[in-house]
């Protein structure tokens, strides 16, 4: 088959994977090699759905032995099938990279013949790229559920990020919609990856401290170079692990999903959990009938996910068994705030950083600016605008120099209405993927590094 056809089929088949992040790795170029990774990640284009394109996102093959109900590539579907060779993937990656189309490769795959068979092909591909083609750009590699731990461990030495998609938020739903995929087949590669990341961190920190102390004591020779080898052995998945699950194909409420994500962050030290609004690609009685993908629900979950990772919220603070779903009209932080009016209003000039983060309309950046600026004088209401604070939401929850600017009493119903109205005008403009597909908060750093090195 012509390469163009393969590429079209296998990019089309990979498009439902949300992750396109190319951040978190600082892999450097080596002499005679090509490429490096930018810690902040770089977007190279934006497709017609407004999602960032950072990586050449493809499946190795869409020939699948499984028949998962929700999946476009299921064995029972009558669609064109194709498979790359490792050489084809390597050459495409390199040639796209040389033209600056991409930041690297995102390689996923359907399961052809068996999990191990497929995983071996993926391993061969990334090994070829790193060794033969001396490629030092970013690689995100999928671990195939059920594949041998040894293969995953080997592949992780060549990848910057690895991921296994949990697909559905519970064992029950997985059994129903993907009966051939076993929950444990998904969880165990996750464990393998997370264990190896942890081992690697220990190895690196201990080899560093050992070689330091040896250098100090003045001893040289073989033992030092041994440590050097340990230090220069390829890092295991330096940009960490992520996963993805489908929202709205199964009945679990937001609370359940958020608890699951929290578990991933805490137990597996995951970098990201991605949420993908279910888009009907197959018809089946076991699947819900949806007119439109639940994009707004997906958006609320991402917002809540942010609260877990950057705002020190816990899932149990945001939702509970009685209220297991987010108010679709209210962002999760505002929702939390109106449910906890006892904590408000807070005084901008004296409140702690942690509490500041909990004010709707104040983000990490504006909170930092407020704290810094406070040292240089009292902050008044006018100043807040300059700090990037969204006063439309924040004004109900703060006082500035003792004054309250909300204009209405702190009553739950009043605020709920006001915040929701303010929000509905935004609904249409929600940049659904923009904020999540590639974290560029740190892009200043890239630019700054550049200036540094110059």
């Amino acid at each position: 088959m012509e390469l163009m056809n393969k590429l079209k089929i296998l990019a089309d088949a990979a498009k439902y994977d949300v992750s396109c992040s190319s951040s978190g790795s600082s892999r450097r170029n080596k002499k005679g090699g090509i490429g490096n990774a930018a810690v902040s990640g770089i977007c190279h284009s934006w497709s017609d759905d407004g999602r960032c394109i950072s990586l050449l996102k493809i499946l190795f093959t869409n020939e699948c032995i499984y028949n998962c109900t929700y999946c476009v590539n299921r064995a029972g579907n009558d669609i064109p099938r194709a498979s790359f060779t490792p050489e084809e993937v390597a050459r495409l990656t390199i040639n796209f990279y040389r033209r600056n189309y991409i930041e690297g490769l995102f390689l996923s795959s359907a399961v052809r013949k068996s999990s191990d068979f497929t995983m071996e092909l993926l391993l061969e591909t990334v090994k070829k790229l790193r060794r033969e083609y001396k490629f030092n750009g970013y690689i995100h590699l999928k671990a195939i559920p059920g594949a041998d731990a040894d293969l995953i461990e080997k592949a992780g030495r060549y990848a910057d990020r690895m991921s296994v998609n949990i697909e559905l938020p519970s064992r029950k739903s997985l059994n129903l919609l993907a009966p051939e995929k076993k929950y444990n087949d998904i969880i165990s590669p996750m464990k393998t990856i997370s264990t190896n990341i942890n081992k690697d961190k220990k190895r690196l920190s201990s080899s560093k401290s050992v070689s330091k102390s040896r250098n100090n004591s003045g001893s040289e020779g073989n033992r030092v170079s041994e440590n050097k080898n340990a230090q220069y052995l390829n890092k295991f998945v330096p940009a960490g692990q992520s996963t993805q699950l489908i929202i709205g194909a199964s009945p679990e409420p937001d609370y359940h999903i958020l608890k699951l994500s929290e578990g991933f962050y805490q137990k597996f030290n995951m970098k990201r959990v991605y949420y993908s609004a279910y888009i009907p690609v197959n018809e089946a009685s076991r699947l819900p009938v949806l007119k439109r993908p639940p994009l707004l629900r997906e958006h609320r979950l991402y917002q809540a996910d942010w609260l877990l990772r950057f705002y020190n919220f816990s899932a149990d603070e945001l939702l509970d068994k009685k209220n297991p779903n987010f108010d679709i009209n209210l962002d999760p932080k505002a929702n939390w705030a109106v449910n906890n009016l006892g904590s408000f209003p807070v005084e901008i000039n004296s409140v702690s950083y942690q509490q500041l983060l909990r004010v709707p309309g104040i983000g990490v950046k504006s909170a930092r600016r407020i704290i810094a600026s406070r040292q240089k004088g009292t902050i008044n209401f006018e100043h807040l605008k300059k700090f990037g604070t969204v006063l439309k939401r924040a004004k109900y929850f703060i006082t500035c120099d003792g004054k309250y600017f909300g204009g209405v009493p702190l009553k739950e119903e009043l605020l709920r209405n006001r915040l929701a109205v303010g929000d509905s005008s935004q609904k249409k403009q929600l940049s659904l993927f923009a904020d999540y597909s590639n974290v560029d908060n740190n892009f200043m750093d890239t630019a700054n590094n550049i200036a540094d090195k110059k």
């Binding site: 759905d49 407004g50 394109i53 993927f433």
Partner: protein
């Protein structure tokens, strides 16, 4: 109104700032000679670029404020905005008083103005690191054209020198008629106005097709959102994008 007029170079601007600090009658505006428009009430002072003076200011920013501030000052200069010299001068007046603490003055307008300008420039640098497209030419040279809002070639080049270290490449800023040229060892910025020699190969055409094919296939049709696409990738950059051309 006192106008200090400099030649447009970074060094010239820093010289003007040096002179301003030591002058009895402080300037109201520091601008590039070419940006100056005759004005009845203006008192012009022509500044002669002086390497020694500008080096002193450069070093003083790094030592007395911070290297981060120096970077912001340089980025602001690259914005090519008419009032950049004045903005930088006002910022430095505060900076030399308060030192590295200047970053905390979020509610000072001069500080804020400079921060905004430098952020715009660094934003475009980051954007361009992704949006630049190289074409392989017959002479085995990879050629990329662009028309950035700001004068950022000198900050794009180091990135690609590290990344595409085993290629010969040219990054051409069409509107400023200059290019960064790299020979696998070092890069220089030079006058460049001739892209007639740029002849692309059949192999190149093939990869462009493949990239377009990928670009079309990767979009989810049910989630089409062209407005968002334009917002994140402004149309003025499309001319040089293979996938949007």
């Amino acid at each position: 109104m006192i106008y200090y007029l400099y030649d447009g170079s970074f060094s010239g601007m820093l010289t003007a700032i040096y002179d301003a600090f030591y002058a009895d009658d402080k300037p109201d505006k520091i601008i590039k000679e070419k940006d100056y428009q005759e004005n009845l009430f203006a008192e012009k002072v022509n500044i002669e670029t002086d390497k020694e003076k500008s080096d002193k200011v450069y070093q003083a920013i790094a030592d007395k404020i911070s290297s981060k501030s120096l970077r912001k000052v340089y980025y602001t200069y690259l914005s090519e905005k008419e009032d950049r010299g004045t903005v930088i001068y006002k910022y430095l007046k505060i900076g030399f008083k308060v030192g590295r603490e200047i970053d905390k003055y979020y509610n000072n307008d001069s500080v804020l103005k400079l921060k905004k300008l430098s952020r715009k420039v660094s934003g475009e640098i980051h954007r361009m690191l992704g949006l630049l497209r190289f074409k392989k030419t017959a002479g085995d040279i990879y050629y990329a054209s662009c028309e950035p809002d700001y004068n950022i070639l000198s900050l794009l080049a180091p990135h690609f020198a590290r990344r595409l270290a085993d290629q010969n490449w040219i990054i051409h800023d069409i509107s400023r008629k200059q290019a960064a040229v790299f020979n696998q060892k070092e890069w220089v910025i030079t006058f460049f106005d001739d892209d007639n020699q740029i002849k692309i190969t059949a192999e190149e055409k093939n990869y462009q097709k493949l990239w377009k094919g990928f670009f079309d296939s990767i979009a989810i049709k049910n989630r089409k959102n062209l407005k968002l696409q334009r917002q994140l990738m402004p149309e003025r950059y499309w001319k040089h994008l293979i996938e949007k051309d």
